[in-house]
Amino acid sequence: MGGAGESHDIMAGRMLTLPHRPFRIAAAVALAVAITVLIALVLWAILAAATEASGTSRVDIPHLLRMTSIQAGLTTILSLAVGTALAWSLNRLRFPGRDLLVGLFASAIVTPGMVVAFGLLAIWGRNGWINQASNALFGVSIGNPAFGLSGILFAHVVLDAAFAARILLARLDAIPTNRLKTGQSLALTAWQRFALIDWPALRGSIPGIGAIIFLLAFTSFPIVLLLGGGPANQTLEVAIYAAVRQDFDLSGAVRLAATQIAVCSVVILIASALAPVPTSFGASASPLWRDSTAARMLQSLVLAIATLGFVAPLLSVLIDGFGSIGRVLAQPTFWWATVTSLAVGSASALLTLVLALALAMGRGATGNKPLRTLLGMPAFAYLAVPAVVLSLGFFLLVRSLGAAPAQAAPFVVIVANSLLALPFAIATLGPPLEAITRGRGKLMRSLGLSGWRQFRLVELPLIGRDLGVMLALAFCFSLGDLGVIALFGTQDLQTLPLMMFRAMGSYRNNDAGAIAAILLIGTVLAFAGLPKLFGKIADAAR
């Protein structure tokens, strides 16, 4: 053990191993306060409208709550189980194309829900590939499993299990080589290896990931909108949207929003108590320890099924989409929507970068517990106040300020999307920045490094790739966003997802398919390209 500085350093400021960075802390506090005020204003607008609008409304909140909870609970359990199995398989098996597959699963978190929903319909839907094949071969139809609760669960698990697997795989890959060597020399069985070595490494992350998945499923918007098939399977989000845009039932929408905020806040309070301890980053050398043949067969099977389940819908989007891409490319509105999407995506990605970097650096620079809690809160704000609710709040706020919603729309869409990406951005940047100041604080402090040199020489080279990942996340999130734009979109402000949604609404499914394919390609390009680019920039900073 190298002295007292390693694990006990958050204690009441007694340990002085953190470099002194008052400017970082001040900047972070200012931003945290600004975000909090913004959220508070939005909440205030919603609550004010709620007390004002006491008219009758037909929303059935208990029913919605029950349905949404069942759906989100099932999604969480299934996604964690599938994700763990997938991470386990990926950690063990070595095969050509493995890196590509891992990258693909990593991209699940940014794949627009609309695209996945569309892909599932193309495969499992009434006129999907499977029904067509089954009709041709046996003359029977399998119905429409992509619709309703089963479809929602399927789409959620496709996305969320891959998301969980990626994080859990990183935990498994970071198991110290020496521990694996010890286990191998004791000739542990595949099961013992999982129970004694893997599970302890995973356990700490499960509650946090589970909470995120639950919230994502609980607030899911595009997938439920497209696959839910009516009020039976709505989430609160979709119900809010329907209340505002279809039934013009503002008081119902506001009551739904208040419920949504209450439930999400409770989940977040529980989740933050369970938040995983950030482990050190970096992967250990890959071991040459193979499990038994039976275990390896199981792993291959898991991998094959997961790959098929994840890749097939996306592949179908690409194949179907390219058939009718010409028609879409010929429409000027398409090009406008593309420009709008790119502009909104870039602006909110940059905003997210500034917010996340400032908050994470400020948080890493202080050992003061209340301050750290304060600086950690903006990350959760948006989860508590998800897309449609935030939009509703902004909408009410803008209206009560006497401005036209159409004018505020671009601003609201950018800010809301970057708040949406913020939890993930902070989760990406926070742990490595924290690990650097904790692990290297003594050294940096005794050398008297300035804040700028700390950033240029130590942090930037080490987190460059993470910065790219974070920008890609934020960009893709807002590229695929439907929740915010659905409430705020106008004829003039139309993004690609909104255009796709409108195309589906007017039964132009070929157009929708082509846009889905383009969205998917844009997402993949950004997600694969930005981290590489930033990795290069960081290397140059060494």
């Binding site: 002295g3 007292a4 020489l457 080490l462």
Partner: protein, 212 residues
Amino acid sequence: MLHVEDLRFIHPGQPLEYCFNFTGQAGEVTAISGASGSGKSTLLDLIAGFLEPRSGQIKLDGADLASLPPERRPISLLLQSESLFEHLSAGRNIALGLPPRTAKEIIRQKVDQALGEVGLSGVEHQIAATLSGGQKQRVALARTLLRDRPVLLLDEPFSALDDETRGTIRDLVGVLTRSHGWYTILVSHHADDVEQLAQRRYRLDEGRLELY
């Protein structure tokens, strides 16, 4: 003279109160030994300023260091590991011992000179992660040379090294201490490190230092 006087400290939640007293001379190595968990690293953390003492003084030639933050203390550190930024080249790591905005030409010259002094010429472009354990410690020593702070704190600096390398690095520490007139404080539980290197030996037991 380096003079630590009634330096008291209690780890939160622990019953033992440490009370450290010792003196060190310029150009001499003072060795601190003691059982694992006896508080050796705690003592170094206090001297370096990473822990705040409840009371007491750390005096270097009459000036009290206890009120200075770690980065302002006239102190260099050499730990068992983690003394370098692994992702930077050896040269970059060493150059961190110079003030910011030192001219490139001077940096190169000083880094060369320091590497020569620790017997490692020619590795300045190698990434620190790829250096051997002994080479890393030499690079860290080279940085110490550029910083040229009078107090050098060593916490088990040779533990990760094989016998031959540890002999060479140990001798190097002795030579540098004498030639630069450093106050070197060596924490080690290896008897031969202490015998070979130290002019003054303390044992830490029950929170107190005893000369032996």
